[in-house]
């Protein structure tokens, strides 16, 4: 197959589907519409809370899907007792931050729902890293534990509103403002010191995990630390571990997520291209007993990921006129194509087409120019 015909996004979609299939995930397909009620009840879970809605012929308020995970959970009632491993590749409809209007965005990802143990979480992290590798060799997977972070934040204050402010600062690596928040709320700044230390430690697993474990032990946050260590142990002996970074500035909404959360970056793309984590809390909100972990790859971010820029529209421009023999023209085209070139036949050069070389059948008919 000619790989040049793929856009970067198509190449990545194809590679990701193949990756997930090889690891035993089965494809999950769904309709474009969902009942609006599903999203109105879980608005904060969505990246943007604007949803395209319409009234169906039966009077029900429907929405064009802004998210895939909610639909997968909703439509899998028979999950109790089973573990499902699913992958998807769907269009979703969200407001684009830059222009503020709705955009169709292709999203791919996996969901593991059911008996999610530490290996399943580790496998999800591993597949996240492999997904990033498929996108670009130069990538970083940043991993955090929401439970560890909340353990540390909880020892600064029990006030949930203040905790939320502090968590926002953590997500911005904004340590100076944590001090201001403490002072404003009459909290001894010393109490935030272990949290500041935690947020200041970031780096490759082997470089930082023991320091984090020690800090967690001092703070009595032992179980979440064990979970993090177990999940990350899947990278033991893998060269991918060089690209995995523990960084507590990765945060997600604690009303939906818990445990391990992560974001992926590739060199040359300004924002995160992959995001995921454990979302047992969302499962409980949707009255499911099983646990879940998964991630999404934001394919709309990847349009410019391949740096190779082709300055030509076609390799060969083949000019002909009324006197040119169609069979000779066809032979010429086939010759070019068999040499691996693309060829466009035109009666005149409109000066807009960018081509590498010209074959001109005008008057000379059989001479290369």
């Amino acid at each position: 197959m000619d790989k040049k015909v793929f856009t970067p996004t198509e190449r990545i979609v194809y590679a990701l589907r193949s990756l997930y299939k090889r690891y035993g995930y089965t494809p999950y397909q769904m309709g474009k519409f969902e009942e609006y009620d599903l999203y109105s009840r879980n608005k904060d879970f969505l990246i943007s809370d604007s949803v395209i809605t319409f009234t169906d012929t039966n009077g029900k308020l429907k929405a064009l899907k802004p998210d895939v995970t909610l639909s997968i959970i909703k439509n899998n009632r028979a999950l109790n007792g089973r573990t499902e491993k699913l992958y998807y590749n769907e269009n979703v409809y969200r407001v684009s931050k830059g222009v503020g209007t709705f955009k169709e965005i292709m999203q791919a990802g996996i969901e593991c729902i059911g008996d999610v143990d530490s290996f399943a979480v580790g496998e999800c992290l591993y597949l996240a890293a492999k997904s990033l590798l498929e996108i670009k060799e130069d990538f970083v997977l940043t991993v955090s534990s929401l439970d560890i972070l909340l353990g540390f934040v909880g020892s600064v204050t029990e006030d949930r509103a203040v905790q939320d402010e502090i968590i926002r600062c953590v997500s911005e690596k904004n340590l100076h403002e944590i001090h201001t928040i403490c002072e404003k709320n009459g909290i001894d700044v010393e109490r935030a010191q272990p949290l500041e230390e935690l947020v200041s430690i970031y780096g490759k697993i082997c470089d930082v995990i023991d320091r984090i474990a020690l800090l967690c032990e001092r703070q009595g946050v032992v179980e979440p630390m064990d979970d993090l260590r177990r999940a990350l142990s899947i990278f033991g002996g893998s060269p991918l571990s060089e690209k995995v970074v523990i960084d507590f500035s990765v945060v997600s909404d604690r009303n939906y997520y818990n445990g391990i959360i992560f974001k992926g970056f590739v060199e040359g793309v300004p924002g995160s291209v992959l995001s995921g984590g454990q979302y047992d809390k969302l499962m409980r909100r949707m009255h499911r007993r099983s646990n879940a972990v998964g991630f999404a790859v934001y394919l709309d971010m990847l349009e410019r990921v391949d740096e190779e820029y082709d300055p030509y529209d076609v390799d060969v421009l083949l000019l002909y006129d009324e006197d040119t023999d169609p069979a000779r023209l066809r032979d010429e085209m086939e010759r070019c194509i068999n040499q691996g070139e693309s060829v466009r036949s035109l009666k005149a050069d409109d000066k807009k087409l960018r081509y590498r070389r010209l074959i001109n059948y005008h008057s000379r008919r059989d001479t290369d120019e």
Binding site: E172, K173, H176, E177, E267, V269, P270, G271, S272
Partner: protein
């Protein structure tokens, strides 16, 4: 993204002070001090590239990855909430975001408060936290004349010395948040150019500590 560290500096006096901090951190670029109209300056030895941009645009350059790091006012970060890391409070360009009104204004809580401002989000968040119903009148400049002409009851704006307010018979009635310049970083760049960014952050932090 190139291997150069791209730095967006705010045009003007504040930007010049910030550049001095970068210079002391070992990322000097002498050509930036030449008297010309160029906007981009490189030092290949330190692999650093500076560019002057409108102060309110710095956060956009950084969020979109055209700049790896930059210096932006807290007012811009609060108003536009860009997806960036806020690494350091540089403690310069200090001022405050405040509510001001005519000296004789008395707030009638039964009526919607008309607020003229360039900072609609900051104003909306502030009054929402107080449960006060407001009508925002978004203006792009000369905010101070809005209450004088009866366009608004109060204004929400940056106050430095308060001279402009006084000269227009206005006074600060409430302070919203202190403002200063912040060192910000693109979240992706931070992962790929961590060593350079950390070196700058740590060196500037040390300079600030020395000044205390």
């Amino acid at each position: 993204m190139s291997k150069f560290l791209n730095v967006a500096l705010p045009k003007g006096r504040l930007g010049e002070r910030v550049y001095d901090m970068f210079e002391k951190a070992g990322f000097d670029c002498p050509s930036i001090k030449e008297n010309n109209r160029k906007l981009i300056f490189e030092n290949k030895e330190h692999m650093v590239r500076y560019f002057w941009v409108k102060p309110s645009d710095v956060a956009i350059y950084v969020e979109r990855g055209a700049a790896d790091i930059g210096v932006a006012g807290k007012d811009i970060l609060l108003e536009y909430e860009p997806e960036v890391y806020e690494l350091l409070d540089l403690g310069i360009g200090r001022c405050k975001m405040a509510v001001a009104s005519l000296s004789d204004f008395c707030d009638d809580k039964r009526r919607t408060l008309r607020v003229a401002t360039k900072f609609s989000k900051i104003a909306a968040d502030f009054y929402s936290s107080k449960g006060r119903d407001i009508d925002i009148i978004h203006l792009n400049g000369s905010i101070e004349i809005a209450p004088i002409l009866g366009l608004s009851d109060v204004i929400v704006d940056i106050v430095e010395t308060g001279t402009t307010l006084r000269e227009n018979h206005l006074e600060v009635v409430e302070e919203i948040v202190p403002i200063s310049a912040r060192l910000i970083s693109n979240k992706s760049s931070f992962q790929f150019k961590k060593a350079q960014i950390e070196r700058i952050r740590d060196s500037i932090r040390a300079q600030l500590e020395e000044q205390k």
